[in-house]
């Protein structure tokens, strides 16, 4: 179960994720992102209420990071301890801009 709360203002999108980003829900996130990416310059993922992430979720973050690195960039915020550990184990903590 994943709730995606998106706000877009002046080319900047904030996606607040709540719940689980797994094999099945990462498809939903991908579907929510694809119509938006072309029209925005920056993106922030607020992970404050994210409880779980698997490699499928990491894949979506990385693909989005790549797309936006040619523009204004992507940031992740409010990363909790568990999710941060997954980022560290996988080297994602060095790749992503984490605030």
């Amino acid at each position: 179960m994943l709730n995606i709360n998106k706000t877009i203002t002046n080319g900047k999108a904030v996606f607040a994720l709540e719940g689980r980003l797994d094999t099945n829900t990462s498809v939903e996130l991908d579907a929510a992102l694809s119509p938006v990416l072309d029209g925005i310059n920056e993106l922030v993922f607020d992970l404050g209420a994210l409880e779980y992430i698997s490699s499928a979720g990491l894949r979506v973050l990385l693909a989005t990071h790549k797309t936006l690195s040619k523009k204004g960039g992507m940031k992740v915020t409010n990363v909790n301890e568990m999710i941060m550990e997954i980022f560290e184990v996988t080297g994602f903590s060095d790749i992503l801009t984490i605030e």
């Binding site: 797994d22 499928a56 894949r59 550990e85 184990v89 996988t90």
Partner: protein
């Protein structure tokens, strides 16, 4: 010792990602009952997903695309043991090279990341092929 002598709880599902939730609940219920820490529970959840989804995607690809996956679980002396079995093509996911996590995001491909995470967070990951079945076992102190 014959593994069948151990008292595993077991669930068999059709190897499809739509059954991921069923498999996760089966594991989580037992971890919760055993008083597993939230951290170990999430790490085990991620590993279970990686292994299970791998089976769904690859095991029966050349056999018409469908087949069963059996997941067995035993918690003993503070260690959770989770065994995945399928009768798909012989495949040792541990034989893959580890991904190069030092590469930048732009250079990086993600293949093998799931297995990489699993190996990093579990205490023991073993693969066996026996009687036409792939048997992958995870062990983690909880």
């Amino acid at each position: 010792m014959n593994p069948s002598e151990k008292n595993y709880d077991a669930i068999t599902v059709s190897a499809d990602v739509k059954n991921l939730g069923t498999v996760q609940s089966f594991i989580e219920e037992r971890l919760e009952e055993a008083g597993c820490s939230m951290k170990a529970q999430i790490q085990i959840g991620v590993a279970v997903e990686e292994i299970y989804v791998n089976i769904c995607h690859y095991a029966y690809k050349e056999k018409g695309g469908s087949g069963d996956a059996e997941v067995k679980m035993l918690i003993k002396d503070g260690v959770a043991e989770i065994v995945f079995e399928d009768s798909g093509i012989q495949y040792d996911p541990l034989a893959n090279e580890e991904p190069d996590i030092s590469l930048s995001a732009e250079e990086r491909e993600i293949g093998g990341l799931g297995i990489f995470i699993t190996r990093k967070t579990m205490d023991e990951v073993t693969y066996d092929y026996k009687d036409g079945r792939n048997i992958l076992t995870l062990k983690k102190k909880i």
